[in-house]
């Protein structure tokens, strides 16, 4: 029995150490992180859009984690400042991503706020970005002879839609675009930890006054 006990106990100890280090400690460290003042919770339409971002697997080609300028030129590409844990407090599940087959989307709502552009780009990415390898999502749209008055007609570059038809966005496409437009993390954040930890009194006095978020 000695070997069995050593085996199972040892395996569980190494496993326990790893859980403590990579799951429990980060949990303790970030559970009290407050959302930055400029960050608003998602609206229900944005959450529906986020659900279709997940179900269509956008996360497999797009990250949401710009890195610091010392590491990579993410900010120079217009992807935004390096993100901090507070930026993600409303994110369940997290969508940090692991591939940049396409660009980072952490601040796509700042970079490309136009609803028409986003809808048209989802319908046919290559009509806007030559050489793009993003899949088109025609199933988020309807082809009609004529749109009803309350429907959103997608304005497309000439030659993109079949002739004689109009492209109408489904509610799912509209929600997805609302989510993309909400991806704006350009509000100010507290300075990074090392400076803040220099002294308790300085951390409160050097805290920048939050400016109104974004331009909107």
């Amino acid at each position: 029995m000695e070997n069995e006990v050593k085996l199972t106990a040892g395996a569980m100890v190494t496993f326990g150490i790893a859980v403590a280090a990579l799951v429990v400690l980060p949990y303790i460290q970030v559970r009290d992180v407050k959302p930055p003042e400029g960050l608003k919770p998602y609206t229900s339409a944005e959450l529906r859009g986020r659900a279709s971002y997940i179900s269509n697997g956008c996360v497999y080609c797009h990250t949401q984690q710009p890195r610091s300028e010392s590491f990579a030129p993410d900010a120079k590409r217009g992807w935004g400042r390096a993100s901090v844990p507070g930026d993600y407090v409303y994110d369940r599940p997290h969508l940090l991503g692991s591939m940049r087959t396409g660009p980072d989307l952490m601040n796509i709502g700042v970079r490309q706020p136009s609803k028409d552009w986003q809808l048209g780009h989802l319908y046919q990415p290559r009509a806007y970005v030559p050489g793009s390898i993003m899949p088109p999502f025609p199933y988020l749209f309807e082809l009609k002879d004529q749109a009803d008055p309350d429907e959103q007609v997608v304005t497309l570059p000439p030659g993109t839609a079949p002739s004689g038809k109009v492209v109408v966005a489904t509610p799912e496409a509209l929600d997805l675009v609302k989510y993309l437009q909400a991806l704006r993390r350009n509000y100010p954040i507290l300075p990074p930890e090392p400076q803040a930890a220099d002294g308790a009194k300085t951390s409160s006095s050097t805290r920048p006054t939050p400016k109104p978020a974004g331009a909107s």
Binding site: G10, F15, L22, P26, Q65, A72, P73, Y88, L96
Partner: protein, 544 residues
């Protein structure tokens, strides 16, 4: 800067301490080779009697002649112990066949899904009319089918087949194991259906909705308990290293899955840390230990020589258990997670060189002067290829974790190439070899068309080589283009296109090899080709 050095030092000290604790617990000297424990896989008098059931009878004779060394032939295998092994094999045959059959089905399905996803990356307007066909879903269907469907089923079959053999005791709780297998496969099939329909938990490797994951976890528990029960009823004195790897692997994947899937607990960046702790541990604590354990059994068994140093293999086990469990954080280099976490994972990634070297040195010494035997034995060929790819992919992984390499390689196809080197070049090739060895014993039937085994091997080996070399190069170019702020982002897309096309070609070769393999498996299961004479389960020259 100072905190980085401190955490680095802390991680290093912790690792060293952990290492010494386990070395202490083993009590035996590390440099002792321990030939007695290494010979536990052989019955009395069996050393020198080669064994590759994937060969026809004539080929077995040729292999035996080629493998003969001075001092052989004095003994014949103890027939009583051989009978024990036959009854151990018989006890597990049906559940193992079930797992392998499921694994083959998922391999074929998952491979085709993967090829489709690969083609879609350079033909983006192909198959886009319906939601289930979109890249984001097909890619995830591929991942779930090959990781959970193929590798997990094949490894479960492998564990359940080797456990009774190594413990010299019949398998206990067969019905529970088959119930577990049914639950696991119901979960995989439903998970794939859910992902295709757009219902996903949204985290890489953990996409299967947790409601479906309950079936997976319940199935794993139904399998683990009988295996542990068989373990405590063993008839051998000491456990062989394969049993260590396999038992620990089963416990780890069950715990991993349950912790990773706990609904409502994880959030924000903590969830990201958990996600990659899980993602890398599926490879590190489930795929790798089971495949390494398989090599520790099949390689010496086929060539009929014990591994060179048993105690070194145990050192490899404990260092892998300790270091590998903590490497997941390197997937978040540069990300918004605490810096100490990433540093810890980078240190442990480098420490992974220890178990990898322990394994590789051991195998190299065991095979020294016997490499040519790969010409004769298909099982050995797959095992040697897999072992070599384990060495390469692990070493690559250790260096890939460094921040300097990550600056370029992170977020690119370079990582995808690395993942396939590990999951295909290493794990899948080992599983192929193991299935070629196991099936004749399980079905009591020869592989009907031995030439197909060679076709399978070469198509798969050439396929993964093109895949890895092409995509690594393309991914590196992509990373360089992204780092250069003067180049537009679209450059980083354009440079990958030719290499994505090469990847599709490589994927087509791999899928072709799977068609051959699964077709051959079906032909065998349907009893094509020659029968074996009775229970001719062991190749001794005396019996012929």
């Amino acid at each position: 800067m100072e905190s980085a050095i401190l955490s680095l030092l802390g991680a290093f000290l912790l690792s060293i301490m952990g290492l010494f604790v386990f070395i202490w617990s083993l009590r035996k000297g590390l440099l002792v080779e321990n030939p007695k424990a290494a010979s536990a896989i052989f019955v009395a008098g069996e050393i020198g009697h080669t064994d590759d059931p994937a060969l026809g009878r004539g080929d077995q004779q040729r292999f035996q002649t080629a493998a003969a060394e001075s001092g052989d032939g004095a003994h014949t295998p103890d027939q009583h112990e051989v009978e024990d092994r036959i009854s151990a094999d018989r006890s597990s045959a049906f559940p193992v066949f079930m797992f392998i059959a499921f694994a083959c089905m998922w391999l074929l399905f998952g491979g085709i899904a993967g090829l489709t996803a690969s083609l879609k990356l350079h033909m983006p307007d192909w198959l886009v009319s319906d939601a289930w066909m979109t890249f984001g879903r097909i890619r995830t269907v591929h991942l779930t089918a090959v990781l959970y469907g193929w590798i997990t089923n094949a490894e479960l079959g492998l564990i359940i087949w080797l456990m009774p053999r190594l413990l010299r005791t019949p398998l206990m709780g067969n019905l529970w194991i088959m119930l577990g297998g049914a639950l696991v496969n119901i979960a995989i099939a439903s998970g794939i259906g859910a992902i295709g329909a757009g219902w996903s938990d949204g985290m890489e490797y953990l996409e299967m909705p947790w409601q479906i994951g309950i079936f997976f976890a319940a199935g794993m528990v139904c399998i683990v308990v009988p295996v542990l029960y068989t373990l405590v009823n063993r008839k051998v004195d000491s456990l062989y290293v394969t049993t260590w790897y396999h038992t620990a692997g089963l416990l780890w994947i069950t715990m991993l899955f349950i912790v990773g899937k706990l609904p409502g607990v994880h959030f924000g960046v903590q969830q990201a840390a958990m996600n990659w702790w899980y993602g890398h541990n599926v490879l590190g604590l489930w795929f790798t230990p089971v495949a390494v354990g398989a090599i520790y059994y099949f390689l010496p068994k086929v060539i009929a020589r014990p591994i060179r140093s048993y105690n070194l293999s145990i050192l490899g086990f404990w260092t892998l258990a300790f270091f590998y469990a903590q490497v997941g954080g390197h997937h978040l280099v540069g990300g918004p997670v605490p810096g100490w976490l990433v540093t810890l994972s980078i240190v442990q990634s480098m420490m992974m060189i220890v178990p990898v070297l322990a394994f590789s040195i051991n195998m190299a010494l065991t095979m020294r002067g016997r490499m040519r035997l790969a010409l004769y034995s298909p099982t050995l060929r797959f095992m040697m290829f897999g072992g070599a790819m384990y060495f390469l992919s692990s070493l690559q992984g250790s260096f890939e974790a460094l921040r300097s390499v990550q600056r370029v390689a992170h977020f690119t196809h370079f990582t995808v190439a690395h993942a396939h080197l590990g999951a295909y070049g290493f794990v899948t090739m080992v599983l192929f070899g193991a299935i070629y060895f196991m099936m004749p014993r399980i079905l009591n039937w020869e592989w009907p068309y031995p030439r197909l085994i060679a076709w399978h091997f070469w198509l798969a080996a050439i396929g993964i080589t093109i895949y890895f070399v092409g995509l690594s190069y393309g991914g590196w170019l992509q990373g360089l283009a992204m780092l250069d702020e003067t180049r537009p982002f679209m450059d980083s897309v354009a440079v990958t296109i030719p290499w994505l096309q090469w990847r599709s070609l490589a994927g087509a070769l791999m899928v072709a090899s799977h068609l051959i393999f699964v077709g051959h498996f079906l032909a065998m299961a349907l009893r094509f080709g020659p029968n074996r004479a009775g229970a001719a389960l062991f190749a001794h020259p005396s019996r012929n």
